[in-house]
């Protein structure tokens, strides 16, 4: 069966607790920020934005919108621009892969990404003494001067594939591959799965009338969907309908 991994984030369920951000950082060996780090130089492959309907007083409504790499399927902006093929769309899984080992650090891919979901390592990675023991042995740390992004916890996919291979199976058990952010969400706001499988809960949620994608009109076919019953939240999908206030979480 064709596999196209993606996720549906239920905005109405998101409380903005940030557990997904923390889990992502811990799983992927994102180093603690330098003392000079700013919201625009930190590494947050999963970033929760606080958004509002722009109204004041009683009419004001707010929501939390977790933004990560959208795993664009068509004319993936970052893939076509990388001069040395450090970014590739995995044809087997649909995951947009970043290879920091091959990255020149030119940051052209960051310029190309409309979702601002790519991050540059501005500093040498460093962990306080003792904290290095918490590093995930399945994920390589990235050096200074290269770009990184969400790769849907690819190390977990590898582990699931190894487990399946050890059991003599070709297909992985879907329960064995769940990204850290999905696993950590206390309200189960994120549904992860194979969007190409019509029976998959993620695929079904993506086809809900309340589902939407950010900047869908760019034609890049993002595989991260959002869902909300609130029209003003759905209007955030496109800039000409939903220019609103924001705070970064």
């Amino acid at each position: 069966m064709k596999t196209r991994y993606g996720m549906v984030i239920d905005v109405d369920r998101c409380t903005g607790c940030g557990a997904c951000m923390v889990a992502c950082a811990a799983e992927n060996n994102v180093p603690p920020g330098s003392p000079r780090v700013t919201p625009r130089t930190g590494i947050t492959p999963m970033l929760v934005h606080k958004v509002s309907n722009g109204a004041d007083g009683e009419g004001r409504r707010e929501a939390f919108l977790p933004v990560t790499c959208m795993q664009c399927e068509h004319e993936t902006p970052c893939v076509s621009v990388c001069p040395q093929q450090a970014v590739q769309l995995d044809p087997a899984t649909g995951i947009v892969m970043q290879m920091p080992q091959r990255c020149l650090g030119c940051r052209y891919c960051m310029t190309a990404c409309p979702y601002h979901a790519r991050y540059f390592n501005w500093w040498d990675p460093a962990w306080p003494q003792g904290m290095e023991k918490s590093l995930n042995p399945g994920v390589a740390v990235r050096m200074r001067g290269v770009v990184e992004k969400c790769n849907l916890c690819h190390a977990r996919l590898h582990a699931a594939q190894e487990k399946a291979a050890a059991a003599g199976k070709r297909e992985i058990n879907p329960h064995d591959y769940v990204p850290a952010c999905v696993e950590a969400c206390p309200t189960r706001a994120i549904t992860f799965g194979n969007l190409a499988d019509e029976k998959d809960p993620a695929s079904q949620a993506a086809r809900s009338p309340e589902a939407f994608r950010l900047l869908a009109r760019l034609g890049t076919e993002p595989k991260v969907y959002y869902r909300s019953t609130r029209p003003w939240v759905r209007a955030l999908a496109e800039p000409d309908t939903g220019r609103k206030e924001v705070q970064h979480g």
Binding site: E75, P83, M110, H116, G145, D240
Partner: protein, 420 residues
């Protein structure tokens, strides 16, 4: 004995007038200081990383990319003059060809040097040649700029070997003679390479589907910015050459080339600028009415963020486009040196503004509905590195002017002046 050591007269061509050694050293001193500060800043960026800059994840390109795109466009005079002289047979432009080559070499070598600081892992630059992504405009830029820099270096060598002292070496004279025969071929190769990298630099932003402010439809794999960049570069290149020549004439107090030559260059620049303004206007109309709305963006909203108002569009197309084109083409203004230089300066400003808008404004503008307009101010390290490139250019050009035959009819012009 001391004066013999301190003087460099033997290296200066006979029959040309140059400042005394001490005066020349005094002229170079501030530029050397500026270069030294820039090299220190560059060292900081290479040693500590790009955290020394004020770029960030959102403003991933900054002052340096703007600088690179501008400098490479202004350096286009080298390939374009070579093309006119050797391919189209415009030998009347030959007296300025050496100056154009040196200027091109300075612009390209400086831009490549800054690019090497601008990437996070400069030692991996060769990866682009080893694992090239043929779909990336940056791959095309890297290949063409590297090759063209080599071509410019090869074009510079014969000029270098025509130094008074070096010419006395028989082997150098033979080498220069042999290389000289290669120059027309190099001019052809340079034209081919330059066409593609000037265009690819435009394509760099034009292909960014995720940045609708920069994204353009085009022909085949090339967005319209590809062609606009080629046209604008060959329009601005000669204007920059006029400005540099006029600056040399002002500083030395002597004419370097026949006045008509600058007018002819200005006319060429003006005609090309006029064509560019027409193409740019059509492109802007298509972008405003078709491309951007179809992607879910309201194009006039891009101009709602001060200081990037719609006046920028007017300034770029009219004040820095149509006006200089008129000044450079209209015979009455083109004959007046002040208007000629004003036209050339405005044309260069237009290119700088165009590159600024495409690089900086593109990144400052929001894409997502809940994005914010961004501000970016370069750090002193970025500015100092920028300054180092300017200082490097002034030093190399000054040294070249002093010791090499940059302007082919300098002696005749000097004789004309003294004869009057």
């Amino acid at each position: 004995m001391a004066s013999a050591v301190l003087t460099d007269r033997r290296w200066i061509a006979r029959g040309v007038e140059r400042a005394s050694t001490s005066r020349f050293a005094l002229w170079l001193a501030p530029w050397v200081a500026m270069l030294a500060v820039g090299i220190y800043a560059t060292g900081l960026c290479l040693y500590y990383g790009l955290n020394q800059t004020n770029m960030d994840n959102r403003f991933a390109f900054g002052l340096w990319i703007f600088l690179d795109l501008s400098v490479i466009a202004l350096g286009a005079g080298a390939f374009f003059t070579g093309f006119l002289v050797y391919i189209l047979g415009r030998t009347d432009l030959k007296p300025i060809l050496n100056a154009a080559v040196v200027l091109g070499f300075i612009c390209y070598s400086g831009a490549v040097a800054v690019l090497m600081v601008d990437v996070g892992q400069p030692l991996r630059a060769w990866f682009t040649f080893w694992h090239p992504n043929t779909h990336s405009m940056l791959t095309e830029v890297t290949f063409c700029i590297s090759c063209y820099l080599l071509v410019l270096a090869l074009e510079y060598v014969p000029v270098l070997l025509r130094n008074r002292r070096l010419r006395k070496e028989p082997s150098a004279a033979v080498f220069e003679y042999r290389l000289h025969h290669l120059v027309p071929v190099l001019a052809g190769v340079g034209t081919f390479l330059s066409f593609f990298h000037q265009g690819s630099l435009g394509g760099l932003y034009g292909v960014l589907r995720g940045r609708p402010f920069a994204f353009r439809e085009g022909f085949s794999v090339w967005p319209s910015t590809f062609f606009l960049f080629v046209l604008s570069a060959i329009a601005a290149g000669p204007s920059f050459l006029i400005l540099v020549t006029a600056t040399v004439e002002k500083l030395t107090g002597r004419p370097q080339v026949p006045r008509e030559l600058l007018q002819r260059l200005g006319f060429l620049s003006g005609v090309l600028l006029g064509a560019y303004v027409a193409a740019k206007s059509i492109d802007t109309m298509i972008w405003l009415n078709v491309t951007t709305p179809s992607m879910g963006f309201a194009p006039w909203e891009y101009y709602a963020y001060p200081p990037f108002g719609s006046a920028l569009l007017f300034i770029e197309i009219i004040l820095f486009g149509l006006v200089p084109a008129g000044l450079l083409i209209y015979p009455k203004t083109a004959r007046n040196r002040r208007w000629l230089l004003t036209g050339a300066a405005l044309a260069c400003c237009g290119i700088l503004l165009n590159r600024f808008v495409l690089t900086v404004q593109t990144l400052a503008l929001p894409t997502l509905a809940f994005d914010e307009f961004l501000h970016y101010t370069p750090s002193w390290q970025e500015v100092a590195t920028f300054g180092a490139l300017i200082a490097y250019g002034v030093i190399v050009f000054s040294l070249s002017y002093r010791y090499l035959p940059l302007f082919g009819q300098e002696k005749q012009e000097a004789a004309n002046v003294s004869g009057r």
